[in-house]
Symmetry: C2
Subunit: 480 residues, 2 copies
């Protein structure tokens, strides 16, 4: 990790603590199996969190699949044939270098450990004492700082299980570590049944699993996570132009959903960073509390994957273009393996990013003696779009009218929340923390003139509107 | 399996074959990892199938979560703490009785094998000959009919894997065999953060995994499947009334989404069928090609699960109701474990059911020399809501106008499909097979008067409508 990445490290604890605490307190994200002491890096999405995640994933699907003629969807099984992962190289090569600390017994990833100079003197703690030692490797234990370490061993990140009643090598299969391979093995099925012609894409969302040793930063890196990946199959000569196109397209997707532009950057991979199969790759990075780090990767995977699967399966995976000139014969009609541009986003990671980016604490101000916590989520992402509240709950006319307004929203698929508990100020504060962009209050004046109070989350402005205008005002913001 | 269930068995092959073939041909469902010869009972949802499944699941979420004040959502991790499955009884008791046939080496489930009388004479085939034998058990081999069988052994259905770099008992964990347990272990977290008061429910959708030996009927029973479950926590004395309520509510959900009422029935479990923890259970059954079989179960699970988790975790999982009279003291203020009513539906199974129910072959008729295959899916479930087509693709004005119409639909989140390939009749036929309820054709007359042809899938009626009315006409059917 570069210094730049670490530069904001000091601020990490407070903001991450606040987010984690808000997530638990308000029902965004809980530790999984909490009553049993939890499970390493596993998280459950509560009532607000599941809506936020669903909204992010729905926006991605809308922009990637529904709004385009050239991309279609796929939803493949998590347990695929083990031959897929043999061909893709994951069975033999998808591993991390692990090291054991002989002093404190911690097991850690060599490539994530603190860097030192080989031969330099280091200090570390053991049995309550400070000890001096000499670094034999270019890193020390991340826990105690000891240079007394085992050799590196490769640890494969695939989760294995067994299909069928007998546990042996023949029945071994894997939980997918990425959704991408399903698009490659289904390439011809999708292309032919849907009569697609490159350039075209296949998009998929779903869970993936990696047996990570180093899990970190709440939901940023966990063993079970959710992906949003799209494989865009193009004629080889168009691949670089499409890489360019997709890096911008994906960058703008985050910006259009309200992410602050100054918290995002595009970073081209250096040559020595590139995966062996890639011809160019960009990371969309976000300025997390611990510094710039990955949010999404957009890679030119060339024809590496299709070629590997063609070799292993002995099935021809080329596309036949009757118009395209065959370079060998000089005549129209060419079979070729398309190149692939892959924008690979993490839904889980996007949840964390949007929460961090939307979080704000406002101090008390003139006319408001209490400060507030507000999640400035884009209305399209907000778990609840509008809260509808009777000013007092003992008045049947007020509660009934509020329920009628709720029904109108629900009929039109706008997620509305009814709240009658506590004073109105506390109810507004709860909705601010939940990121709800609009609150509608039914009060005494409603009886007289059929108007309600519309209160805006962002500037706390309030205005009287007619009940019958409520849906179109809220909807206008959602369709913007 | 009862005779009644088998009664329609003869018709199974043709319709199931037609559905499987349509699914593959049109990109609803592919065999997983097909280029590698497939994987036992694993399936991938193609471009149309993923939309159908998403629509079914979205309708469920809308009716269960968004349209109600008393149910909230959850999305828990697939790999939970192993202690959850120890407490729930799955580790010790979630098993099938397996038997090996000594004649043909088939391994099968004793409870699914053909029933015979113990001591009766049976005939079976071995090495090409017909052999007579005597039944030593109340069943014979489902493959060859042999009575020469091993003893029954319990085979646990949990998929196991290992979390972390060391494979041993301590690192063993399980892929969830149901989503339900996550709602029980998160009961208090959700209740308190969202301030819910029983009766209230927690709903979840997601993948579950069971290492089934007998997989059958295409996607009906597979090892990896997708669930839609809701746990409704109620005061114990209200549980039976809520079971009644939910069985009707869930039955009507299918009917309202277009499933033929005569293909559905509610069946109360006999006492000897009931799970040991259940106080009453209904199956919603569908008339599949192989007979009546399960679509969804609605059970009164009593306080069995919460009690088990309370005992195992040593965490109090009772709800405190300050108004409720404590039966021991006779005063207000009572801690109690709620009862749970669980409507448990299969998303994967619902996909198959809706496809079967919607499938129709129409013979040629007067004025139409070719028959057609049509999927009469409810517009809310149809993968594509509207196809927009220029009559001819060489006319830029027609194609441009069609694209403009598409844009209007997409802006309003109506999934629209652009098609310019082949003659218009073939394009209509393709949309009929995909279940698309509306087609809009832009033609020469559009240039003159701004009208387009709206063609209805179900009766093939065509009418001229104004371009600007297209969205509201289609939307009206979707909101019905």
């Amino acid at each position: 990790m570069s210094d730049q990445k670490k530069s904001k490290g000091l601020e990490e604890a407070p903001l991450m603590q606040k987010i984690t605490s808000l997530c638990k307190r308000r029902g965004f994200i809980f530790q999984s199996s909490e009553i049993y002491g939890g499970l390493k890096s596993a998280y459950d999405y509560g009532p607000l969190g599941v809506e936020l995640k669903r909204n992010i994933m729905a926006q991605w699907w809308k922009s990637m699949v529904h709004e385009r003629d050239d991309i279609v969807g796929l939803d493949a099984s998590i347990i695929m044939s083990p031959k897929v992962w043999q061909a893709s190289g994951h069975v033999s090569g998808f591993s991390d270098p692990l090291v054991d600390c002989k002093t404190c017994k911690t097991r850690f990833r060599a490539d994530k450990a603190p860097v030192v100079e080989v031969g330099s003197e280091v200090e570390y703690r053991a049995s309550g004492k400070t000890i001096k030692g000499v670094a034999a490797k270019p890193y020390v234990c991340p826990e105690c700082g000891s240079p007394d370490l085992s050799d590196e061993r490769d640890f494969n990140l695939l989760f294995t299980t067994n299909l069928g009643p007998v546990k042996n090598e023949d029945s071994t299969c894997y939980l997918r570590p990425e959704t991408a391979q399903a698009m490659f093995v289904n390439f011809l099925n999708v292309q032919s049944t849907y009569r697609m012609k490159p350039p075209f894409g296949i998009a998929q969302q779903g869970k993936s699993f990696r047996n990570e040793i180093t899990v970190e930063h709440f939901i940023f890196r966990s063993c079970e996570f959710e992906q949003m990946e799209m494989e865009f199959f193009t004629p080889p000569e168009e691949a670089r132009a499409w890489l360019d196109y997709w890096k911008d397209e994906r960058f703008n997707w985050y910006v259009n959903l309200g992410c602050k532009k100054e918290h995002l950057r595009l970073r081209a991979h250096e040559d020595d960073e590139l995966a062996h199969y890639a011809d160019g790759c960009y990371d969309i990075e976000y300025l997390y509390p611990w510094g710039w780090d990955e949010l999404e990767g957009i890679a030119n995977r060339t024809d590496y994957d299709l070629r590997k699967h063609q070799e292993a399966s002995k099935k021809k995976l080329t596309y036949f273009d009757p118009q395209k000139i065959n370079p060998e014969t000089g005549k129209p009609g060419h079979h070729y393996l398309p190149y692939v541009i892959e924008p690979a986003a993490g839904a889980t990671r996007a949840v964390l990013m949007f929460l961090l980016d939307a979080y704000e604490e406002e101090p008390p101000s003139e006319g408001r003696k209490e400060g507030r916590v507000v999640l400035r989520l884009h209305p399209k992402l907000a778990p609840i779009k509008v809260a509808v509240m009777p000013l007092v709950k003992k008045d049947d006319w007020l509660t009934g009218t509020a329920q009628d307004i709720i029904k109108t929203f629900r009929k039109n698929s706008v997620n509305a929340f009814y709240d009658e508990k506590d004073a109105i100020g506390r109810r507004y504060a709860r909705q601010d923390e939940a990121g709800t962009p609009f609150c509608i209050t039914v009060d005494g004046q409603t009886k007289e003139d059929g108007t309600v109070t519309l209160r805006y989350r962002d500037d706390m402005r309030q205005e009287r509107i007619k009940i019958e205008d409520a849906l179109s005002i809220v909807n206008a913001k959602l369709l913007e």
